[in-house]
């Protein structure tokens, strides 16, 4: 049976939802070891077991930035245990550990995968390209295979597995590669979060000015929705990066996605095209966003949104 390692990070005291998605996928591929980064504990390890991990390698980095010491320890452990595949998510610390680990072991990384299969002598992965209109099938030789999968590529489902066997992954000082986390800041988060909201309202360049993003926020409030943005207006500094939906931002799959003043650049479509229902408002009748929208309004967001908000307020 193939041996699959899955990197799972702790998030607010529990295994991250991304980690649980990856565990669910991994257990269909082979015997699963969760590489768990965080404080950990019996209930966290039990959750890892419920999602398919039979073994846990537990690492706790203290105030060290985890990437260098975790990659070093994993490289050593992987050289002796020889897993077939090490699966990470396309997320901040996952990318840091995977990149350093791959360079250390001299193997490649397949990034942004939407699916992964084991084949003779390695792995095969799917990658959405050109705004998700096409799928590139990639393969890599080298051992172990290291894959980064996009969030929400797999639905997290418990398997009812037993408590796993837990071992500690000892971390050493990273020497010249060491970095220290001096302080963590939690930014005030109000209302539903992008990743798990049932409704998402996003704005793009068509809003015309940073002030007009208020329309998106007002509509979001009326619908109990999370608010998002395109890379264009994040880069322009209108809204923080945490709101970015797309290839280099968050992937969302809400029940309803409302795109206001968004033309539908490839980089944005990849992050939202799997929403159940898409509503788009844009001035340009030829905007690519209309090719994925269930309802397209060809019009100015400055006219349509205030009327929509008013109609919802009066209900």
């Amino acid at each position: 049976m193939a041996s699959i390692w899955v990197f799972v990070q702790e998030d607010s005291g529990a295994p991250s939802s991304l980690g649980l998605e990856l565990l669910t996928k991994a257990r269909s591929l082979g015997d699963v070891t969760a590489v768990y980064l965080g404080a950990g504990g019996d209930s966290q390890f039990a959750t890892l077991g419920e999602y398919g991990a039979t073994n846990v390698l537990h690492a706790s980095a203290g105030d060290a930035l985890p990437s260098a010491p975790v990659a070093a320890a994993l490289a050593e452990k992987a050289s002796s245990d020889q897993p077939d595949l090490i699966l990470f998510g396309q997320a901040y610390t996952d990318r840091d550990v995977a990149g350093r680990l791959a360079a250390r072991m001299g193997v490649g990384v397949l990034s942004n995968a939407s699916d992964v299969r084991l084949v003779d002598g390695g792995v095969e992965t799917d990658h959405e390209i050109f705004g998700g209109t096409q799928i590139a099938v990639a393969s890599a030789s080298g051992s172990p295979s290291i894959v980064l999968a996009r969030p929400k590529s797999f639905a997290a489902e418990p398997s009812g597995g037993n408590a796993p066997a837990v071992a500690t992954l000892e971390l050493s000082d990273a020497g010249s590669s060491a970095a220290r986390v001096v302080e963590s800041h939690v930014e005030e988060r109000e209302g539903p979060q992008l990743g798990d909201a049932a409704v998402v309202v996003s704005g793009g360049r068509g809003l015309g000015s940073p002030e007009a993003y208020e329309l998106v926020e007002k509509l979001g409030k009326q619908l109990g929705a999370a608010t998002g943005a395109t890379r264009a207006i994040v880069d322009a500094g209108w809204v923080p990066y945490a709101k970015q939906v797309g290839q280099t931002g968050k992937t969302v799959k809400p029940d309803v996605y409302i795109a206001a003043g968004i033309s539908g650049a490839m980089q944005h479509l990849v992050g939202m095209k799997d929403s159940k229902t898409i509503i788009a408002i844009n001035k340009d009748p030829d905007a690519p966003i209309f090719s994925v929208a269930d309802l397209g309004i060809v019009g100015d967001v400055h006219n349509v949104l205030p009327k929509l908000i008013e109609a919802l307020e009066n209900r």
């Binding site: 930035l65 360079a103 970095a179 006219n303 919802l312």
Partner: protein, 252 residues
Amino acid sequence: MKVVVCVKQIPDPATPYTLEEGTNWLVRPSEQVLDDTDRYGVEMGLQLAQANDGTVTLVSMGPAGNNQGVRQALAMGADKAILIDDSDLRGSDALTTARVLAAAIKEEGFDLVIAGTESTDGYSGVVPQMISELLDSPALTYATKVEIGDGKVKIHRQTVAGYDEVEASLPAVVSVTAGVVEPRYPTFKGIMDAKKKPVENKTLADLGVEADASQKVKEINDAPSRTGGQKIEDEGEAYQAIVSLLEERKVI
């Protein structure tokens, strides 16, 4: 202080990208542009170099073409560029890219390496981390703020919940997000000066790195496509169609 900024020349994102038949490599025209996300790294490098009596060297890998993208970064104010263009590097994966860039950076010498978090055309998102491992240096990633002082670099590292203050001793590798600084536009003088700035060309053999072709794109298939639905021209009342659909979906 020696600042090295990794930059990439990419096909203009405003033009449709195409793949070469057979290899499935991205077609790269001779005129490429500076990846927009690299302008933040170049600006950050220029500001830190100016404040710390330093220089900014650009390192770039890929087909040179007419070098317009690198010239754009030089026109912003970088001092010189090292460009690794070798036909054996076509179709390279992230690890080969990192090996090439790390070898060039090591040869040049550095106190601080700056890169974007991912390129717009490849977006593997792991090259800065790989470079840091190959240089035995810390990787301070996803920086929204960067400061240098007392032989240390301190950043604000973007996290899911907010940000972490992270610090490490120099030399170090930093990856910056868009928005870390406001990139300057090249001045006319900058553009003229850029034409005279040194661009050093290197090959794989110069750096003693071997291309590794362990990754392949086997095939390209059409994705199950989603088709557009109803499209309405707004004449003042189109918002009602949205209200109806939201009711139908039980959102309201």
